[in-house]
C-alpha cells in the first residue's frame, strides 16, 4: 500500500512586517493538524528546514519593492502549483505603497545615511502586478480563521468561503449597531472587504479599511457623505491612504481629494 504524499507548502516573505506569516503560527489549536496534513517545506520564520521545490501551494507575504524581489517572485511562481497572496502588502502593496504617491529618492535621502547603497524600485506593488496569483487573501493582518479556510479549501479542492462583500454585512449579522448612523463616526465599512468580522465597529470605532476595497466599492458616494458631515479633505485622503492605499478604488479616491 502506498501512503498518500502530503502536499508541500512554502511560505515566502517580501516587503512586509511578518504579521501575516505569524498568523499561520498563531493557529495554535490547528497547527498540529496543519502539519499533519501539509508538509511545511519552506517556512523560514518557523523552521530552518528547507525542502526543495516545486511546491503545491505557496503563501506569499509582502510587496515587491526591489529589483531583486521582482526576479525572486517569478522564480517562486515557476515552482508553485498554486500561489496565494496573504495580506495587504502582497495584495495591494501595503503601507509602504505610500511611497508611490511621492518621490522615493526623497525618502531614501532622509532615512539612510548612505543612500548610494540602496537599490529600490520607485513603487511598492502587489504580487499580482508581477505574476499570476491564484487567490488573494485580504487583511492587515489576515484573519487566521480565513487562512485555515483557504488551506482547507485547497486540500479538498473546493472554493474557499471568503465573501468579497462589505464589512456592513458582518456588522449586521453580529448585531453591531452602525457607528456611522448612531454616532456619526466616519467608517470605511461600506466600501471595505469583509473578513475581520467587523472588529472595529464592535468596539465602537469606524472601520479603517484593513481588508481593502470590497467588490464594486462606491468610494465617491461615501466620501461625499463624509464631506457633508464635515470631514476635512485631508482627513478623507488619509482615511483611504493606509494599508491598502494603492488598491485601485482607494488610490483613486484619495487622489481625488488631494489638493
Amino acid at each position: 500500500m502506498t501512503t498518500i504524499k502530503k502536499p508541500k507548502l512554502a511560505v515566502w516573505k517580501f516587503a512586509s512586517c511578518d504579521g501575516c506569516q505569524l498568523s499561520l503560527l498563531d493557529c495554535e489549536d490547528e497547527l498540529l493538524t496543519v502539519a499533519s496534513k501539509i508538509d511545511i517545506a519552506n517556512f523560514l520564520e518557523a523552521s530552518r528546514r528547507v525542502v526543495k521545490g516545486p511546491y503545491d501551494i505557496s503563501l506569499v507575504e509582502g510587496s515587491i519593492t526591489t529589483p531583486h524581489d521582482q526576479k525572486r517572485i517569478r522564480q517562486i511562481r515557476k515552482k508553485s502549483k498554486y500561489l496565494v497572496t496573504i495580506g495587504a502588502c502582497a495584495t495591494a502593496g501595503g503601507i509602504q505603497a505610500l511611497r508611490n504617491f511621492r518621490n522615493v529618492d526623497d525618502f531614501i535621502s532622509i532615512v539612510y545615511a548612505n543612500p548610494q547603497y540602496i537599490e529600490t524600485l520607485e513603487t511598492s506593488t502587489p504580487i499580482s502586478s508581477h505574476v499570476h496569483v491564484d487567490f488573494e487573501l485580504r487583511g492587515c493582518p489576515i484573519n487566521k480563521q480565513q487562512l485555515i479556510e483557504v488551506l482547507s479549501a485547497f486540500l479538498f479542492g473546493r472554493k474557499p468561503n471568503i465573501p468579497p462583500h462589505s464589512v456592513c454585512i458582518e456588522c449586521k449579522r453580529r448585531g453591531t449597531v452602525c457607528v456611522m448612523v448612531a454616532n456619526g463616526t466616519p467608517c470605511l465599512g461600506p466600501v471595505t472587504h469583509a473578513g475581520c468580522n467587523a472588529i472595529c465597529p464592535s468596539y465602537c470605532r469606524g472601520c479603517y479599511g484593513c481588508y481593502g476595497p470590497k467588490e464594486t466599492p462606491n468610494t465617491t458616494s461615501l466620501s461625499t457623505w463624509f464631506s457633508e458631515q464635515g470631514v476635512k479633505k485631508e482627513d478623507i485622503v488619509r482615511s483611504f491612504r493606509t494599508f491598502n492605499a494603492y488598491a485601485e478604488a482607494f488610490r483613486k479616491e484619495s487622489i481625488a481629494h488631494e489638493e
Binding site: T33, G175, C178, T216
Partner: protein
C-alpha cells in the same frame, strides 16, 4: 402565539408597577424574554431580565442616515420607535448551522444538531413589525414548503405588542396601512399612558386565549371609557405625525412601467451596495449557504447566513453576476419590496418601519425614490400634461 379569541377583547388597565409581574409570569412559563434595551448607543433587542432593562426614559431621533438616543423628560417604558434590530434576529437567525457531518471508514454521516430552541416572549413589538412577522410567516411557513427552524421558533412565540405613542422621523406605517395600532398578530397589546399628574399605566387589549390566561394573573382592572379614549387619541396623534409618507396607489404598475428610468442611475451614484438596507429590513429573507470542511476532511458543516441582493455573489451564475451594476441591484431590491412582492406573496414587502432609511449610511430614502419616479410620470405623461394637477389620471 395562542389562538385568537374574539371574546377576550375587553380592554383593561395594567399599572406600570405591575409590569414586572407580567415579566415574572412569562419567566415562570420558561419563556426567553427579549425586548428593547440600551446597547451601543441605540435601542436594540436583547434579553430582558427585569423591567429596568427596558430603555426607561429614553427616546430616539431618526432621519435618513442618522439615529441618536435622547433622554425624555418622563419615565416612559416604550417612548421611542424601532431601532437597528428587528425580531427576525430571533426567528430567523443571521447565521445558523443547518447540519454537520462526519466521515469515517463506513462513509458519510449527517449528525442531527440538537440545538434546543427556547420559546420566545417578544416584549414591545410595534405594529409595523407585527406585519413584518406576518410577511415572513407567509414566506417561511405558508408556501409549499415550510422552513422547520423558523416554524419551531415562531410557533411558540408569545407577542406583547405596543401601540406606538410617537412616530419616528423615518416612520411611514400609516401610508402602508401597517400601523401604528396593532390590530392582529399579538397575544396582548398595550398602549402606554403617562399623565401629567404622574399616573403611568397601560391600556391592555387581549388578542388570544394565551394572552388572556397570562393577564389573568397580573393585577388589572377594567378600563374606563376616558382611558380607552386617551389611548385612541395617542394612536391617532402618532398616525398623524409620521416622518415620511409613501403614496402606494398603483405602486406596483408604477414601478413595472419604469424599469427604465433615469432615477435608477441617480440612486446608483449614491448607493454603496453595502447591503445595510436589506440587513435591517424586517421582511428581507434572503440567505446564502456555505459548506465548510475542516483541515482533516473528517467533518463538514452547512451554514445558512443572511445574504443580500446587493452582493455580486447573490446573482452569480455560470459566467458572472446577472446584476453587476449598482443600478440593477438597487432596482431589484426596491421593485421586489414594493411591487413584485405583491405578485409573489400577495402583500407588499414593505411595512413602513423606516429602518432602511435610517440605517442607510448615505440616507437613501425608499419613499423619496418612489416619489421621484412618480413625479416624473406626472410631469412627462402626455395624458396628464393636458390636465395639470390631476395626478392620478394615468393609473
Amino acid at each position: 402565539m395562542g389562538k385568537n379569541n374574539k371574546n377576550t377583547t375587553e380592554k383593561v388597565i395594567l399599572k406600570h408597577d405591575h409590569f414586572q409581574t407580567l415579566i415574572d409570569l412569562l419567566k415562570e412559563r420558561e419563556y426567553r424574554i427579549v425586548g428593547p434595551t440600551l446597547g451601543e448607543g441605540a435601542i436594540v433587542y436583547d434579553d430582558l431580565n427585569t423591567v429596568d432593562d427596558l430603555p426607561i426614559g429614553w427616546t430616539d431621533d431618526q432621519d435618513g442616515g442618522v439615529y441618536r438616543l435622547k433622554k425624555r423628560n418622563d419615565r416612559a417604558f416604550f417612548g421611542y420607535t424601532v431601532g437597528p434590530h428587528s425580531w427576525k434576529k430571533f426567528l430567523f437567525p443571521s447565521q445558523l448551522r443547518l447540519w454537520k457531518a462526519r466521515r469515517d471508514e463506513n462513509g458519510f454521516h449527517i449528525e442531527n444538531d440538537k440545538n434546543e430552541i427556547r420559546k420566545f416572549a417578544f416584549i414591545g413589538v410595534r405594529s409595523c413589525d407585527l406585519h413584518a412577522i406576518s410577511v415572513q410567516d407567509t414566506v417561511f411557513m405558508h408556501g409549499i414548503y415550510s422552513e422547520p427552524n423558523y416554524k419551531a421558533r415562531r410557533e411558540h412565540t408569545f407577542i406583547l405588542a405596543v401601540n406606538c405613542g410617537m412616530a419616528g422621523g423615518t416612520c411611514f406605517c400609516a401610508s402602508m396601512s401597517t400601523g401604528p395600532e396593532a390590530t392582529s398578530g399579538f397575544d396582548l397589546a398595550l398602549t402606554e399612558i403617562l399623565q401629567e399628574k404622574g399616573e403611568h399605566y397601560f391600556v391592555v387589549e387581549t388578542g388570544t386565549e394565551l394572552g388572556a390566561e397570562i393577564l389573568l394573573n397580573v393585577p388589572h382592572r377594567e378600563a374606563k371609557k376616558e382611558e380607552i379614549h386617551a389611548a385612541e387619541t395617542i394612536i391617532k396623534n402618532t398616525s398623524q405625525s409620521m416622518g415620511r409618507t409613501m403614496e402606494t396607489k398603483d405602486i406596483k404598475d408604477l414601478l413595472y412601467r419604469n424599469y427604465e428610468h433615469p432615477r435608477w442611475d441617480d440612486v446608483a451614484k449614491r448607493c454603496l451596495t453595502c447591503a445595510n438596507c436589506t440587513m435591517v429590513c424586517p421582511t428581507c429573507f434572503c440567505t446564502t449557504v456555505e459548506d465548510v470542511t475542516d483541515l482533516t476532511g473528517e467533518h463538514a458543516e452547512r451554514w445558512r447566513k443572511w445574504d443580500s441582493c446587493f452582493t455580486m455573489d447573490f446573482s452569480f451564475i455560470h459566467g458572472g453576476s446577472i446584476r453587476a451594476s449598482a443600478k440593477s441591484r438597487y432596482r431589484q431590491w426596491m421593485t421586489h419590496k414594493l411591487a413584485t412582492w405583491i405578485d409573489q406573496f400577495g402583500t407588499s414587502g414593505c411595512v413602513g418601519c423606516g429602518r432602511c432609511i435610517t440605517w442607510c449610511p448615505v440616507a437613501i430614502d425608499i419613499t423619496e425614490e418612489t416619489r421621484e419616479i412618480r413625479k416624473s410620470e406626472q410631469t412627462h405623461s402626455p395624458n396628464n400634461s393636458i390636465k395639470e394637477g390631476n395626478n392620478n389620471e394615468n393609473a
